[in-house]
Subunit: 152 residues, 2 copies
Amino acid sequence: MTDMDATDQAILRILTADATLKASEVGRRIGLSQPAAWRRIDRLTQAGIFQGRRLDLDAEKLGFGVTVFLGVKLAAKGRTSLEDFERAVSAIPEVQTVEHVLGLYDYRLRVVARDLADFERVLRRRIMTLPSVGNVESNVLLSEERRPGPLG
Amino acid sequence: MTDMDATDQAILRILTADATLKASEVGRRIGLSQPAAWRRIDRLTQAGIFQGRRLDLDAEKLGFGVTVFLGVKLAAKGRTSLEDFERAVSAIPEVQTVEHVLGLYDYRLRVVARDLADFERVLRRRIMTLPSVGNVESNVLLSEERRPGPLG
DNA sequence: GATGAAAACACACCGTA
DNA sequence: TACGGTGTGTTTTCATC
């Protein structure tokens, strides 16, 4: 199941960078024929390695120039608090990601806004009014780099 | 450029959830013929709305059961400090994302590890030894939900 | 909506290590 | 036995009319 050789890892590296590539192109890049590459991709697919292929949007092109990470500490933490918080935060369109975490904060949110003035509106009227919300910390995104991560 | 109607937004919602869907299937879901859907997708593509299609891997299936978010505050912050830090952090395979941010922290890192013991190794031998690293805060990921975000 | 062209898939079969 | 190459039928998808 997790017996991946260097070729499989190369395939994952290629597909995590660009999932639109076809088996023939993947094969060409690693020196494999189309059927051989297809067989390997199929095997990885069967193994459930792939979680999904998502389309990444260019937030700036859509008019959202500001991305902010929020660390949220809840004031009260019962089971209902978590559920209420999650339900309420899911209704805020500006929230792109909701991460339930362990540590100094209880939740990390990725929020986009048109500009800083718009972000202030979201923060004051949407975030600070969430149920059970306690301390909130903001980090404005300057730049971001994604890497394939370890593959085996 | 940003003149998107509700139909375009529906298309973006569908494709951000599953980028493998073809024009015909997208059209079927929103009550549009295949060519009509294709033309709209093509127009959105030309507008540069799409940043890329990436394959998401199942980290657990690869043997990485632990995901941790690190907030890093640098001890010294000259131009060279930032560059040295970024170069060094890029050499750590366990780091999936490097975000340069403004606020209480200077960088946010998404790090995966096989388990908590493995994470401790990464933290002590890789992260804490980075150049200019000051305070480091860890948040262990429990669960994560991604949402389409605002589309217009 | 129909349709032709292009391409990508997916299998069979064989060779090799 | 496992893996790759070649060849090929079939399906899907694109893209125009």
